[in-house]
């Protein structure tokens, strides 16, 4: 539906296409919208969630302060240390799978419920999107690499699956679905096949459909009460949001940009899939289609196996390791593997010029997990890494140790404030934990 307004490099190609089939309609130069490069660099925010913690003892840097010593798991990122800020000793409110996933970006205590009145708290990515996401065709983009259908019985007892299926909540009661199909993400970014005239015509139609839908919804909500009315109002609000985004996309002027081949579907190998999602994230930032991205590498109770690195035991089963040395070693291997995949993304950001610097200079990516010790689902000292400088929001090259039991929420409040929110509290925050 949306079309980029920024020039992409002609060499832009998507990795991980494997046996993918190039789509003829996107091979050609596609006229799209765009304007002269922005005068001042824009800030971007991303959050990458990895499941089941980082192996304690192999994650936290071994020294504190600047020029810190990287530990084993972070090693692949060594060359980007100047852009890294590690914060240790932050804590989630509760142990567990559902609770730590839900709280990771909300800093809140999710309501214990199987279905009724699901309630978590708005997540920091959405608060930031409210600040910096207004000018782009997509306010935020939510991605994942694990299909959460087909895991019946795989959610935390007493907690709705919704808490584990996403890391992003638009508000306390609205989880944002995470998209796993690169093709769908691509279509959200660049639209369905067709000429620019056809795309414009489609946008106009979509907008008039939304206009008319608003009228319809107003009529429908008459006479409704309680939760039914709330749901209709949610619907209405969402219609408005999409409508304003289409208007933004329509207003942007035309330029010529080469759009890469569209991915055809979901790659079979996890590594290819993840690489493709990272590429789409980088592309979305580069083309300024969105400034806020969240990415869930796997569900928290993921039973994924990683044959490529010789880890064939399912992740969740292995994460309850009982101090078995082989399992512990494999967990470190797996954590490092995830960081290594992430490195490709960081590298891409570092190599992409943006205004006076690079994308990495103007982006802040939070990388981490909701727990530390997976065997006990520990909420203590959860792994927290910031990569990038967010356009001067952090100085980088730092390992900061927070006072023990500092709520993650205090840190999330800082992030929200850094990106312009004037919130005084966030989730269960007690104060702002400021990261320089």
């Amino acid at each position: 539906m949306f079309i980029t307004n920024r020039a992409l490099s002609r060499r832009t190609i998507l990795r991980g296409m494997g046996a993918a089939v190039a789509l003829p309609f996107l091979d050609a130069m596609v006229p799209v919208f765009g304007s002269a490069a922005a005068a001042t660099p824009v800030r971007r925010f991303g959050a990458v969630f990895v499941p089941l913690g980082e192996r304690p003892g192999f994650w936290d840097p071994t020294t504190i302060g600047t020029n810190f010593e990287l530990n084993a798991i972070m090693k692949p990122l060594e060359e980007y240390r100047s852009h890294m800020t590690v914060v240790s000793q932050l804590c989630d409110p509760l142990d567990g799978h559902a609770t730590t996933v839900a709280a990771w970006l909300s800093g809140a205590i999710p309501k214990r419920t199987l279905a009724e009145n699901v309630n978590n708290g708005v997540t920091v990515d959405q608060v930031i999107a409210d600040q910096i996401g207004q000018d782009t065709p997509m306010k935020s983009l939510e991605l994942a690499t694990e299909d959460f259908t087909g895991w019946i019985g795989g959610c935390d007892p007493s907690y709705s699956c919704a808490y584990m299926n996403t890391i992003s909540w638009k508000n306390a009661t609205t989880p944002m679905p995470m998209e796993i199909n690169p093709r769908s993400v691509f279509e959200r970014m660049f639209g369905r096949p067709g000429t620019s005239q056809q795309r414009l015509a489609r946008m106009a139609t979509d907008r008039s459909v939304l206009d008319s839908l608003l009228e319809e919804l107003k009529g429908m909500s008459k006479g409704l009460g309680g939760k039914d009315l709330n749901r209709l109002n949610d619907y209405l609000e969402n219609v408005r949001e999409i409508e304003s985004r289409i208007q933004k996309a329509e207003k942007q002027s035309l330029t010529n940009v080469e759009v890469p081949d569209a991915p055809v579907g979901i790659p079979e190998e996890f590594e290819d899939h993840a690489a493709l999602m990272y590429d789409l994230m980088a592309l979305a930032f580069e083309a300024d289609l969105t400034r806020v991205v969240t990415y869930m590498k796997s569900r928290d109770a993921s039973q994924r196996v990683y044959p490529k690195i010789g880890v064939t035991e399912p992740h969740h089963a292995m994460s309850h390791h009982g101090n078995n040395s082989e399992k512990l070693a494999n967990l470190v291997k797996l954590n490092t593997h995830h960081v290594d995949l992430f490195r490709g993304f960081v590298e891409k950001l570092a190599k992409t010029p943006d205004g006076e610097g690079t994308l990495l200079d103007h982006t802040l990516i939070l990388y981490g997990s909701g727990m530390s010790e997976s065997d006990t689902h520990s909420r203590l000292n959860i792994p927290t890494l910031l990569v990038g400088k967010g356009g001067g929001l952090v100085q980088g090259n730092q390992h900061i140790v927070a006072p023990k039991e500092t709520p993650m929420a205090n840190f999330l409040l800082d992030l929200a404030n850094k990106f312009g929110s004037d919130a005084k509290s966030f989730g269960i925050s007690t104060s702002r934990f400021e990261v320089a």
Binding site: V21, S184, T205, L213, L224, Q303, N324
Partner: protein, 825 residues
């Protein structure tokens, strides 16, 4: 006691009958009015409290066996029964339903604690349920399901039924959250911008496909063969005389030329597999050959040795077909021509799975993926089922256009909006028609109107409206149209059809005989298959199969062909119970199943050849019912081994309706490589070590014996007598179940689970009710569940009688007006 229960059943029946009579009157008046609790109470109902004479002895039982732990001081599991009022059971249905659930299956009191004898146990449960049921009969609470958004599969089915158009909804909409084990629970079917955006874009795509938008550009669809699929045998549905490959269903937008491009498996070094011998690859469309390519043999093999990439590309260029195809649904197949035994000179192949080694360039060629790209040089919208459905009239003159458009739009909107399309709605749709007509032609106008219809909230949301002025907290019967929707979304996961809507519009649906007729008709309809894919698929975890990837080094024969066979078998088995209106108890112990050659090999059943599925009578008792099915045995296992815990928990959750308590924090896991006296411990031995920890013991005593009794089935459901290969330790499948029953394997376990059939049937009903209502089944619903089970007993728990019981229940037919508190939520 017996007499008392009977009278309660009668009361409930009378109540329901009252509702119907009342509703008939209402429908003539055509103005919804609420039933207040007061009105309900005026029905002749016996006092809720049973004879006080029984109370003291039950109170004594509770005091003696429960209060030791569930005291005010200890509050074990957050529950005290010490000072609870046993003279007003109905005051705390949540607590007492929990007690019933645990005591009934023998989960409480825990093993090793003093427990009442079977007679007092049964008496206690009977008394409690009697109290609860009587109160519920007098005070029905049907609940109030939230506004329900069509989930992904409902959306796909609705499009199919509205437009005669098969789409793959997973490509259009994101996955839905699920709760209580089902993805149609209204509470978690919320909306978000992304979701709405996808509904919007789906409306555009589907309407373009349905009318055959001439502007449909070139697009590509890709079909992937799973990497663990074996391709050395015939695949069901592909032409006889072929092996391997894949069959795909697609709907093409326009008449025109399409490029079908198969891609063959290449090793990690880029060499196409199987080039050392000659092969033929065949592409078929709707069963007819459209392309035959030869490859392999000396030339290709040598080329591959020189440059594997170029050689592979060359083969793929030869495999490509550009064919003229008509718009609409097609079945496209890609497969290899089978060689005669004389030609077949393969090496010895040790495993059933043909696609093990991803490094080996020799052996069978395999299809990896194929794509269909087009249309090129389109020649028109063609004659498709969806166009025939949509264009029910054809304007011959300009003057006929608008009336024809109105007819199309109102006919489709009636179905899409499920009888609730207002004049205003039609006006809105017609204004989109007008815009499209002005900017293009008649068909473009219809396409735009259709796009608007599919984007409508009236299509995407099921809203049940309380009657105006209804008293807060009162209960009222649903109007016929809402009832029609509940029925069709329950039985078909889709919108009502013309007949159901007509009956509802005429106000006849609430007549018991008509309702029954419709229900039977709908159950017999092929669309009821959604009960298999959506209900059974989730209840029994069949949907998890696609995520199960058994470790290939441990289960060398396992392939996707077997995974599909597991799924087919389980689905056909469940469908047979439904279609033949068998007893739901047959789900547990029917002596037949459905297999093909691949599955027969796995089950060691001789004399079964070919890829098609057929019904066979089982001689092996172990394979009877769902507990003997590969699908269930695999989804309850880990990738590398069985898990008695997962299996035990699955049985408790899904067959006995008594989920074990959640795992405590800080649990030491199983020692995977446990060794003792130089021997690897068996699963049983490792679990025994684990259970020595008292924190673990309590729950495991409940779960493990069930799972251990199933140990003769390995992680992919193969039968075994030893663990760890032919020289491993003999499996000991014996144990004592939570209620003290001794079992020695799968057969005696199944018999033990069946001894109180109403427990299994009750769980089945509870699960199906969750699915039917799209909400969690609450304590206040349990009396209804028990009623349905009791009523079903006389009909031997036949499938249709269970469904009828649910449909006839107040929970399904009625709705509660929000209380002031709910109103302000």
């Amino acid at each position: 006691m017996r007499k008392l229960r009977l009278s309660r059943a009668l009361t409930a029946a009378v109540l329901l009958a009252l509702c119907w009579t009342w509703v008939d009157a209402r429908e003539q008046a055509a103005a919804p009015r609420p039933v207040t609790p007061a009105a309900t109470k005026s029905a002749p109902v016996k006092p809720a409290v049973a004879g006080p004479a029984q109370t003291p002895s039950h109170k004594a039982t509770i005091d003696r066996y429960c209060v030791t732990c569930h005291s005010d001081r200890l509050k074990t599991a957050g529950l005290t029964l010490e000072s609870i009022d046993t003279t007003h059971i109905s005051a705390a249905p949540d607590v007492w339903e929990r007690v019933v659930r645990k005591v009934r299956v023998g989960m409480m009191p825990p093993q090793g604690s003093p427990a009442p004898d079977a007679t007092s146990r049964t008496a206690l449960v009977t008394w409690l349920t009697g109290e609860l049921d009587a109160h519920a009969a007098a005070h029905p609470d049907p609940g109030r399901p939230l506004v329900h958004r069509l989930n992904r599969s409902e959306y796909g089915n609705a499009i199919r039924d509205l437009l005669d158009l098969e789409i793959e909804p997973a490509g259009l909409l994101p996955a839905d959250d699920s709760a209580y084990g089902f993805d149609n629970v209204a509470d978690v079917l919320g909306v978000s911008p992304v979701l709405l955006e996808r509904y919007l874009s789906a409306a555009g795509k589907v309407s373009a496909l349905a009318v055959g938008d001439p502007e449909s550009g070139v697009a590509s669809e890709t079909f992937r063969v799973r990497q663990d699929a074996s391709q050395d045998r015939h695949v069901e549905g592909l032409p006889i005389g072929t092996v391997g490959g894949m069959l795909a269903h697609t709907t093409l937008p326009l008449d025109g030329e399409y490029v079908i491009q198969p891609r063959l498996f290449r090793t990690n070094l880029g060499a196409m597999r199987g080039l050392e011998y000659e092969h033929q690859l065949e592409i078929t469309v709707d069963g007819a050959r459209v392309h035959l390519a030869s490859f392999g043999g000396d030339e290709d093999f040598k080329a591959s040795l020189r440059n594997p990439t170029l050689a592979g590309d060359d083969v793929e260029a030869r495999s490509r077909a550009r064919v003229k195809l008509t718009a609409g649904p097609h079945t496209i197949g890609v497969a290899f021509i089978e060689k005669t035994a004389a030609q077949n000179s393969w090496r010895l192949q040790p495993f059933l799975r043909s696609s093990h080694d991803t490094f080996d360039p020799t052996g069978y060629p395999h299809i990896d993926v194929f794509s269909v790209t087009g249309p090129y040089s389109p020649t028109g919208s063609g004659d498709t089922p969806s166009r025939r459905r949509v264009f029910m009239c054809r304007p011959a003159t300009a003057a006929e256009e608008e009336p024809c458009a109105r007819r199309i739009v109102s006919t489709l909107a009636r179905l899409a909006y499920r009888g609730q399309a207002s004049d205003e709605d039609l006006q809105r749709l017609m204004s989109f028609y007008a815009t499209g007509r002005k900017g293009g032609n008649f068909e473009k106008g219809i396409q735009l109107a259709l796009q608007r219809m599919l984007a409508s909230a009236k299509f995407a949301l099921r809203v049940e409206r309380d009657p105006a002025g209804a008293k807060p907290g009162s209960v009222y019967p649903l109007n016929s149209l809402d009832l029609a929707s509940r029925l069709s979304f329950f039985l078909w996961s889709s919108i009502p059809d013309d007949e159901l809507l007509r009956v509802a519009e005429q106000g006849k649906l609430r007549t018991p005989v008509v309702l029954r007729q419709q229900l039977r008709r709908m159950l017999a309809d092929p669309k009821a298959e959604s009960l298999v894919t959506n209900f059974a698929g989730q209840w029994l975890y069949l949907r998890n199969l696609k995520n199960m990837v058994p470790l290939s080094t441990e289960f060398v024969d396992f392939d996707d062909n077997l995974r599909r066979a597991f799924e087919q078998e389980a689905e056909l088995f469940f469908a047979s119970i439904m279609r033949e209106n068998r007893s739901v108890l047959d789900l547990m112990d029917a002596n037949y199943t459905f297999i093909n050659e691949r599955l027969a090999k796995h089950y060691n059943i001789p004399g079964i050849y070919g890829s098609h599925y057929r019904r066979v009578t089982l001689t092996d008792e172990a394979r009877r019912g769902i507990l003997g099915k590969g699908a269930i045995l695999m989804v309850t296992s880990h990738t590398d081994r069985t898990s008695p815990v997962v299996r035990g928990k699955w049985v408790l959750d899904n067959l006995l309706g008594a989920p074990p308590p959640p795992m405590p924090a800080n649990v030491p896991p199983l020692d995977e490589n446990g060794q003792q006296a130089g021997r690897v411990l068996t699963m049983r031995e490792r679990m025994e070590v684990h259970r020595r920890n008292p924190v673990c013991a309590n729950c495991h005593k409940i779960m493990d014996p069930i799972g251990l009794a199933m140990e003769n089935f390995d992680a992919v459901g193969s039968w075994r007598t030893r663990e760890g290969g032919t020289h491993g330790t003999a499996i000991d499948a014996s144990g004592v179940l939570l209620d003290g029953t001794k079992v020695d394997g799968i057969v005696s376990l199944r018999k033990a689970l069946m001894r109180n059939p109403e427990i299994f049937v009750g769980t089945f009903v509870e699960k199906m009710m969750t699915y039917a209502l799209g909400r969690g089944v609450a304590a206040t619903d349990m009396p209804t569940v028990r009623q349905i089970v009791r009523d079903g007993a006389s009909q031997n728990y036949r499938f249709a009688s269970m469904v009828e019981g649910i449909v006839n229940s107040p929970a399904f037919q009625m709705r509660r007006v929000p209380t002031p508190q709910e109103q302000s939520e």
